[in-house]
């Protein structure tokens, strides 16, 4: 059968972009155009940084081998081990044979093709989205891809970063480019000042609840406003990380002094004249004042409370002070049936106050919340306390370096004296691929990013929370905010201030 092919002739994109006002995302896109697609064919986009891990790369390397293709740019490629790795006894062979084989396959592929790799036990090993920024490889104005949907994390630096499938991993290994369709842009405006005890995690959970799990589909999100500007890089990473949970492949924050201060001096950050050139360029990236977004969303930071999920997708969330919603009140029929199904899976009843929900486990970790500031926030609440009886509490740093940094600050001792487990770096209980899993029916307050059915282990039940809520919950055994730890007060702001003092 013959078909008429769309016109695929493209033009080399060497002309400077039009002088029309542009958003941050459009600027980064334009500066990576290798070939401008015409008449329905995609643009060919150059990729500055390709991160690899063991799960989504073996079949891509197989493809290269079959076609006799090399890795085009080894100097833009880096691998680490995170999804399968155990977080205990990391000096011993991995007990699970299929996990061990997958890790060994990555090591073999890295050796065969010459890819830089940081294996379990290496000081630079860790969750791939913690490692890139930590090394100073993630920087403003670049494109970053990885066979992992949480690659959106790197957008916190003003990079265009998104997850790809294994076929695309192979494509980037072979060509250092991807054919991509242009996207729409959505501004997420968060104005105001977060109250004490309210964090970046609460912002993004509230955003997802507002726009839904499909709301960002086809868009690149740009997080803007005074509440975003006030966040640290760790906080911005938490927000961008969960863009995919709103259906958006990428989320971005314009770079500013906070970004430059974080980067300056890191191992792979530019130096000398290169640094000056880079900063001069980065300062041009912010969305032009008169640029327009295809969609805009507004969120009032002043009004935000700690936010948690009750269901089985990240959009099913409420403020912690609220009860579980009644599906009968949901107008959309699909969403109503999804809510009914979720409550059944979660073994919850509509109308129950969220704060009455008892948990069996608390997981503090994942690419969403395992950086040093997350661990500090968690430790600040649990310090000198004892965990609730019968609750399993696991604290998993995002990288070997974060673990070392935390230990230098004594966080490991605070964690173990609290009665929690202090683990080695990895994805751990965020997804059921390594030994850290929930048992069927177990309920967990988790600082991770997905509350899907069975995500943390078959039959496990997940409530997504911030590190502060995780800490307070670990102390009380029920979903709690730090405000609840102050005797005689309920949600009063002065109580929160005492907690944070």
């Amino acid at each position: 059968m013959t078909t008429s092919a769309p016109e695929l002739a493209g033009s080399a994109a060497s002309d400077s972009p039009a002088s029309r006002p542009r958003t941050l995302a459009e600027k980064v896109w334009d500066d990576h155009l290798v070939v401008k697609g015409e008449d329905g064919s995609p643009d060919l986009i150059y990729i500055d940084l390709h991160l690899l891990h063991e799960v989504t790369s073996p079949q891509a390397f197989d493809g290269l081998r079959l076609a006799g293709r090399p890795v085009r740019r080894l100097d833009l490629t880096i691998a680490t081990e995170d999804h399968n790795t155990p977080t205990l006894a990391i000096d011993k062979p991995i007990a699970d044979l299929t996990s061990r084989t997958q890790i060994q396959t990555l090591r073999n592929n890295a050796a065969e093709f010459g890819v830089r790799i940081h294996s379990l036990g290496d000081i630079e090993q860790g969750i791939v989205h913690v490692v890139g920024p930590q090394l100073g490889l993630t920087m403003p104005g670049i494109t970053v891809v990885c066979g992992d949907s949480h690659t959106s994390t790197h957008g916190a630096f003003g990079a265009m970063a998104f997850g790809i499938g294994t076929s695309e991993v192979e494509h980037v290994l072979a060509t250092q480019t991807l054919p991509l369709k242009p996207f729409k842009t959505m501004a997420i405006n968060v104005e105001g000042t977060l109250r004490p005890g309210v964090t970046a995690k609460d912002i993004i959970l509230a955003v997802i609840a507002k726009i839904g799990t499909g709301g960002g589909q086809g868009y690149v999100l740009e997080y803007r406003g005074s509440a975003i500007r006030a966040l640290s890089m760790d906080g911005r990473m938490t927000i961008c990380n969960m863009s995919i949970e709103a259906g958006a492949r990428a989320g971005m924050v314009a770079p500013d002094q906070t970004t430059y201060d974080y980067l300056n001096g890191r191992a792979h950050a530019p130096e000398g004249q290169d640094w000056d050139d880079a900063v001069a360029y980065w300062k041009t990236l912010a969305t032009d004042a008169d640029a327009t977004f295809d969609a805009e969303v507004f969120l009032d930071a002043d009004e935000l409370e700690p936010f948690v999920t009750w269901g089985t997708n990240p959009g099913q969330g409420v403020s912690l002070s609220e009860p579980i919603p009644n599906p009968a009140d949901i107008e959309d029929l699909n969403e109503r049936s999804a809510a009914e199904r979720a409550l059944e899976y979660m073994d919850l009843t509509a109308g129950t106050p969220m704060k009455e929900i008892q948990v069996d486990a608390v997981f503090m970790g994942s690419c969403t919340n395992s950086r040093i500031e997350d661990l500090r926030a968690f430790a600040s609440i649990i310090k000198g306390q004892k965990k609730a009886d019968g609750v399993r509490v696991m604290v998993v740093p995002g990288s070997a370096r974060v673990r070392i940094e935390a230990e230098a600050e004594g966080i490991d001792k605070i964690v173990t004296e609290f009665g929690a487990e202090w683990r080695f770096a990895g994805c751990s209980m965020c997804l059921g691929m390594n030994p850290d899993q929930l048992a069927p029916g177990e309920r967990c307050a988790s600082t991770s990013n997905r509350n899907f059915e069975g995500r943390q282990g078959k039959g496990g039940r997940t409530h997504l929370v911030s590190p502060l809520v995780a800490a307070a919950t670990a102390i009380r055994g029920t979903l709690s905010s730090p405000w609840d730890l102050v005797a005689g007060t309920d949600t009063a702001t002065d109580a929160a201030e005492k907690v944070n003092a």
Partner: protein
């Protein structure tokens, strides 16, 4: 990749929204290093229920999946597409797809067509009236026919063309290699390099 033009098979109803890729294939099955052999892992959690749709004899060899909105959200795992293909699904029709899943489908010969919610409802009703009824998905005409009903579906021109021609993306891109090399020659020195190790 094999060429795809018209695919026909039993219409398999999955009238649920937000079927994320963790449901299509749980993470525990992602440890394999091959692209095949994932058929037993498809919908692993749900298929423990003997009444789950793919356990019914009429649907035991796959066909065309008719799913609710936001099918394939979440994780980027291409294993979700491999598992659907391995089981015998050649197409999925849904009112909305997760972006990464849709992209992965187009690279593995799985036709992902976007239909309206009301057409999805109509198809589910026809299946309920006649379980096992066949549906024919025509990529050339961009429509699907089930019984007397023909509904249009959306798929972007480029993906449609690549599926129809069975084209390999990498081969297509490498035709532009001169442009890539030229772009690389203009790349600023401050941009990240993973080597040499620092």
């Amino acid at each position: 990749m094999d060429k795809v033009s018209v695919v026909t098979g039993p219409a398999v109803p999955l009238p649920l929204s937000n079927v994320d890729t963790d449901q299509i294939i749980p993470a525990v099955f992602l440890k394999r290093v091959t692209k095949t052999g994932f058929d037993d892992a498809l919908f692993y959690g749900w298929r423990q229920d003997p009444d789950f749709v793919i356990n019914q004899p009429a649907y035991a060899t796959g066909g065309i999946l008719i799913a609710g909105p936001d099918f394939g959200t979440g994780s980027s795992r291409e294993h979700a597409v491999w598992a659907l293909r391995d089981f015998g699904f050649n197409a999925v029709l849904s009112p909305r797809f997760g972006d990464i899943f849709r992209g992965n489908s187009g690279k593995q010969g799985l036709l992902a067509g976007q239909i309206s919610e009301s057409d999805a409802e109509k198809i589910w009703a026809l299946i309920e009236a006649q379980p096992g009824i066949e549906i024919s998905v025509d990529l050339i005409a961009r429509n699907a026919t089930i019984g007397e009903l023909t509904v249009p579906f959306e798929i972007d021109d480029y993906t449609r063309w690549r599926l129809l021609e069975g084209l390999d993306d990498i081969g297509l891109t490498l035709r532009d290699e001169a442009h890539i090399t030229e772009f690389e020659s203009r790349r600023e020195p401050w941009r990240p390099k993973t080597l040499p190790v620092k």
